[in-house]
């Protein structure tokens, strides 16, 4: 699958491997790109949102959006890179289903989302400190 023309202006980089298209966009263009993807390119659902911690490189986190078009039988992966102190715009305004996925990324990685309706921890207890899926968080041990 080639990169769609409408997405060209947002793309910083793109590659296709194993038949999967990955497009990287800048954090400030994310919501705009997602609107185009949903309304013009038919990606009506977000399959999953997650992050990868690239500690110690900077920007530290890759936030990864897997989008899916049931109608066109297409999948696409959108990536954006942010640092710990940055806030990323939430895409809950585009797909309501992004809500819990962004909460999960916030909970387990500590990436904060701006304009999210309900940004609370989802897996860990509310009074938990730390973000377990970060690479500098130990796999085992006692508090």
């Amino acid at each position: 699958m080639d990169i769609p023309e409408l997405l060209q202006p947002f793309a910083l980089a793109s590659q296709t491997r194993f038949g999967e298209l990955t497009v990287e966009v800048a954090p400030r263009n994310l919501v705009e790109a997602c609107r185009v993807l949903k309304h013009d390119l038919g990606f009506e659902r977000v399959s999953t949102i997650t992050a990868v911690d690239r500690f110690p490189s900077s920007p530290r986190f890759e936030v990864v959006y897997h989008l899916h078009s049931v109608r066109n039988r297409q999948r696409i992966r959108i990536k954006t890179r942010v640092n710990e102190d940055a806030e990323l715009d939430s895409v809950t305004g585009v797909w309501r289903g992004a809500n819990w996925y962004e909460r999960e990324v916030f909970d387990l990685f500590g990436v904060r989302f701006a304009n999210h309706p309900d940004l609370r921890r989802i897996m860990m207890p509310d009074d938990w400190s730390g973000h377990p899926l970060r690479k500098d968080y130990p796999v085992e041990g006692y508090k």
Binding site: S47, V70, R96, G97, R121, M123, P132, V139
Partner: protein, 406 residues
């Protein structure tokens, strides 16, 4: 409670101006109909649900973190524990994802065995769903019928893998073990019996008036909302969307099999019941095709750096011994890259997003559990309905909390 006036009214200003009191009800985390530990905070006006907030995370076990500390092959054992009612679907999805990164193909015998057992898993998962869903709605006996057949299915898994539930039977590069003795007769007998057994469940429910009243016209959610909120699987198909990953993006040789994707348009709890019943019948057909067409040959791929060598070779060939030592002590290295593999699990889209940095342990494994996406739509589905319908809606979603919380 001495005075009514001093009580703060839950439910906010709307409830106060309407002059009515609403009640906040904690359903769960130990409510039997939540099938695990899910807490639902319901805001009620009498019997009517004003809003609902699911609270998950009680079963969070940090499996995604644990993946990063295990070698790829060890990771298979974690996948069983994510969705414990569809363990083989999870084994399959993970194995396919790693095999895609490694670029290895498994032999036909492994492909057919995988399809056969995954379809049996779909049946056993749907049986647990049907039994518990019926119990929730007051039909006790269905549960006993369903678990009768599920028991035989678990025995078949045990026969193949040595384990009833935590099978870990599909390994990266093929299967863990060769077929056990006598499997063909055992599976064939079950497949012969199953259509009649499914008729039995239908006799109990399909035309049952109470069942129909409790399920018809309940839990309707527009298709656009379903897609927007992340619902997949049988629920989407009961809303008329003809989407099944086995057909749309065939994996593990599903394009070699002849089957139908059942759909309904009523979009209620009853339609979801009908879709799942039909799916069980289709799964029987697929499993039978796999059984009858089962090829001979090796059950693991020809990939000496990934798959453990045969015992005999290990004792006679130097290379085999070296590979064995390397695989056991440090695991195998997976080339750098990332992959997203989606399969149709009994509950919907199950996906594994795998990132490799070229070492013997995954850099990141993310599991897109179907239950997580489905459960997110629950508030929209039950809003405005009755408390008793909440139970019906919960049942029709068929979520597993292990899959939701991981």
């Amino acid at each position: 409670m001495s005075s009514q006036d001093t009580l703060t009214l839950p439910g906010g200003p709307d409830a106060a101006t309407a002059g009515r009191r609403t009640m906040t009800l904690n359903m769960g985390p130990q409510h039997p109909s939540t099938h695990g530990v899910l807490r639902l905070v319901l805001e009620l006006d009498g019997e009517r649900v004003l809003s609902a907030k699911p609270d998950i995370g009680y079963l969070h076990t940090g499996i995604e973190k644990e993946f990063e500390a295990k070698t790829y092959q060890q990771g298979v054992t974690l996948t069983d524990r994510i969705d414990y009612l569809a363990n083989l679907s999870n084994n399959l999805c993970y194995a396919l994802a790693v095999e895609k990164l490694l670029g290895i193909e498994v032999p036909p015998k492994a492909v057919y065995t995988r399809v056969m057992l995954t379809e049996l898993t779909r049946i056993s998962s749907h049986l647990v769903w049907l039994g518990t869903h019926a119990i929730d709605l007051g039909a006790m006996s269905v549960f006993l019928y369903c678990f009768r057949e599920r028991e035989e299915l678990l025995r078949i898994y045990e026969m193949f893998s040595g384990q009833r539930m935590m099978t870990s039977y599909f390994r990266i590069g093929g299967l863990a073990l060769d077929h056990p003795r006598g499997w063909r007769r055992r599976v064939a007998k079950l497949l012969d019996e199953l259509p009649g057994k499914i008729d039995e469940y239908e006799d109990l429910l399909t035309n049952n008036r109470i069942w129909k009243i409790r399920t018809q016209g309940i839990g309707i959610l527009p298709v656009e909302d379903m897609l927007d909120l992340g619902i997949t699987g049988p629920m989407l198909r009961a809303a008329g969307v003809d989407y099944d990953i086995r057909k749309a993006e065939p994996y593990s040789g599903y394009d070699l099999f002849d089957f139908r994707v059942p759909t309904r348009t009523e979009n209620d709890v009853y339609a979801r019941y009908q879709v799942r019943i039909e799916e069980m019948r289709e799964s029987v057909k697929i499993a039978r095709q796999a059984l009858e067409g089962m090829p001979d040959g090796p059950f693991t791929a020809d990939a000496p750096k990934v798959v453990l060598p045969e015992r005999e070779k290990m004792k006679t060939q130097m290379e085999a011994l070296i590979y064995h030592f390397k695989i056991v002590t440090e695991g195998f290295r997976v080339p750098e890259g990332e992959v997203y593999q989606a399969i149709e699990s009994p509950r919907g889209e199950l996906g594994y997003y795998l990132v490799s940095d070229g070492t013997a342990k995954p850099y990141r494994v993310h599991v897109r559990g179907p239950s997580f996406g489905n459960l997110q739509a629950l508030p929209s589905m039950i809003q405005g309905g009755l408390v008793s319908d909440v139970i019906a809606c919960l049942g029709s979603m068929d979520f597993v909390l292990g899959d939701t919380d991981r």
